[in-house]
Amino acid sequence: MGNVPTSVKHCLSYEQLIQDYPWLGSRLQEEKCTLTREYPEYVKMIEVGPRDGLQNEKEMVPTRVKIQLINMLSETGLPVIEATSFVSSKWVPQMADHTEVLQAIHRSSHARYPVLTPNMHGFQDAVAAGATEVAVFGSASETFSQKNINCSIDASMLRFEEVICTAKQQQIPVRGYVSCALGCPYEGPIEPTKVAEVVKRLYELGCYEVSLGDTIGVGTPGSMAKMLHYVMKEVPSSALAVHCHNTYGQALANILTALQMGICAVDSSVAGLGGCPYSQGASGNVSTEDVLYMLHVMGIKTGVDLSKVIEAGDFICKALNRKTNSKVAQARSKSS
């Protein structure tokens, strides 16, 4: 219904606005100073689309598509791109091409490419394939741990300890994930003290960062703040990240809360790839584009080019023959 002039693009891109109206710079500098008193100056974006996103696809995604997606994401300035997963292809057939993907991607010197390694076997395969960073996945819920990886939280920690020790010897950094940080599909609400306990264990085992996952997206700013309050008693905020799902539309509000509490690392997925496996048809991961929009217009730096992320999102949505979950991408495509 009519073209939206470039003036709207100024609302979308802080950089574009300053470029076109240099006199606004000093005025807006005041705004940024007011804001950055409360928020981090820089937020590290961890892109999980190629792994967490694509892993949920029912149809097998061709290896060349995965590789091209990761290459496009590397061009955007994203500092961390989770490339693949070295789990058994019996459990996650979508990631069976892990070695091929890792070896074929063009690795930017500005980015890191962690891969999931659930155990020693996966870790060794990952290193053999050239991985330089790995990730391990714990849970704050016993039932979820049993159902997802077939063992208790304690038993999983023993497994991870082995991986982390070996990784340390080889100077390979390890990132930890804790799922069900704000609720479990089996147990319901999870006590924040339990989340804090699991996070602390992963951190003390040697994970340089622990990502707190709202696996079914049920969290709200209230439960996010409460959980972070307990977790931050045990682990410094500089070693924490949030991984919010948008299943109930709460992700950006939850991320905002996390930023207000000092968190400055956020996981997200291009085009919001990755549904919620516990609620068929519902959305899952928060869209990288929507997070970037919020951060950039707030004056928070990420080093990421939003337009290029939108392009990568367009590419993968065409390849998967589906619509993007990103509101920003939807608005941009309809208004131009």
Binding site: S7, P189, K226, S279, A331
Partner: protein, 340 residues
């Protein structure tokens, strides 16, 4: 901590978890912790009034005319869901907004629940008189913080529009009819781009001085983010008391709930929203518009904030209107709970 578990009969596994997690989080002990922690040091209101704009702002954007009986049934279901303010219709000329041509029939046909208010839009004196004649007990007027938007939308400057509204507010005062004011483009304009917070404050102040009991600040194209929302509210609250302010956030760029959270942290306790997220963005075809009431209520309840709204009944109203319009809900909460 004691909690009341409410099991909602929905087929989806994950959905039960969402509503269960919500129920537990509302227990008193948690609510206090949540209040203290949720806002990272900022106090949140204990209660938020939701202003439901679906039947007017939402349906107004539909291309095909929605039958009057559907509109009436929707409003009745929303009344049953516990909403205390439901914008029922609009007394603008049917020449401009054919969707609202059945304004009188709708006003007369709805079952008005005691304690619930059903404001209607009245752009001028003629509309106001027609509204009162049809039984309206509250009206609303719509200003803009952008000159270009005012010209394109209602064919006059901001000043001229305010003069027109003053005629309405005078008449309303004499008739004892409360008036709610709206300001559009508070965080950005589709024609002018960035809008000055001082301009927004000026327009809000004039509407308030004219007698509007509440001013709803609309992010018309949904471009706002927490930074802009903070700055704008700081400017406006210097001119209008914060308890007379509301926010009307569009979710076109997915920012609505984050913006609403900021507004709550700054003392705002009135939020406009639209059931099922009805109402697209006319400036970006196919893009979403109004924030979904279900998603707002989910967040508020999770924060331990009271709204008086029964979320399952609200979702039923959303499901009804989506079936009638043959379209999918824009509410994530509703999507997470739908049967497949």
């Amino acid at each position: 901590m004691a909690a009341v578990m409410r099991f909602v009969k929905r087929s989806c596994f994950g959905s039960r978890m969402g509503l269960q997690c919500l129920s537990l989080s509302r227990s008193a002990a948690v609510a206090q912790l949540v209040q203290d922690g949720a806002s990272a040091g900022k106090t949140l209101p204990e209660r938020v009034k939701i202003v439901e704009v679906g039947p007017r702002d939402g349906l107004q954007n539909e291309k095909t005319v929605v039958p009057s009986e559907v509109k009436i049934h929707l409003i009745d279901m929303l009344s049953e869901a516990g909403l205390s303010v439901i914008e029922a219709t609009s007394f603008v000329s049917p020449k401009w907004v054919p969707q609202m041509a059945d304004q009188v029939e709708v006003m007369m046909g709805i079952h008005r629940r005691p304690g619930v208010s059903y404001p209607v839009l009245t752009p001028n004196l003629k509309g106001f008189l027609a509204a009162v004649n049809a039984g309206a007990a509250e009206v609303a007027i719509f200003g803009a913080a952008s000159e270009l938007f005012s010209k394109k939308n209602i064919n006059c400057s901001v000043d001229e529009s305010l003069q027109r509204f003053e005629v309405v507010t005078k008449a309303a005062k004499e008739a004892g009819v409360p008036v709610r004011g709206y300001v559009s483009c508070v965080l950005g304009c589709p024609y002018e781009g960035k809008v000055s917070p001082d301009k927004v404050a000026q327009v809000a102040k004039r509407l308030y001085s004219m007698g509007c009991y509440e001013i709803s600040l609309g992010d018309t194209i949904g471009v706002g983010t927490p930074g802009g929302m903070t700055e704008m509210l700081q400017a406006v609250s210097r001119e209008v008391p914060v308890n007379a302010l509301a926010v009307h956030c569009h979710d076109t760029y997915g920012q609505a709930l984050a913006n609403i959270l900021i507004a709550l942290q700054m003392g705002i306790s009135v939020v406009d929203s639209s059931v099922a997220g009805l109402g697209g963005c006319p400036y970006a075809q196919g893009a979403s518009g109004n924030v979904a009431t279900e998603d707002v209520v989910y967040m508020l309840h999770g924060l331990g904030i009271q709204t008086g709204v029964d979320l399952p009944k609200l979702m039923d109203a959303g499901a009804f209107i989506c079936r009638s319009l043959n379209k999918k809900t824009s509410s994530k909460v509703a999507q997470a709970t739908c049967k497949l």
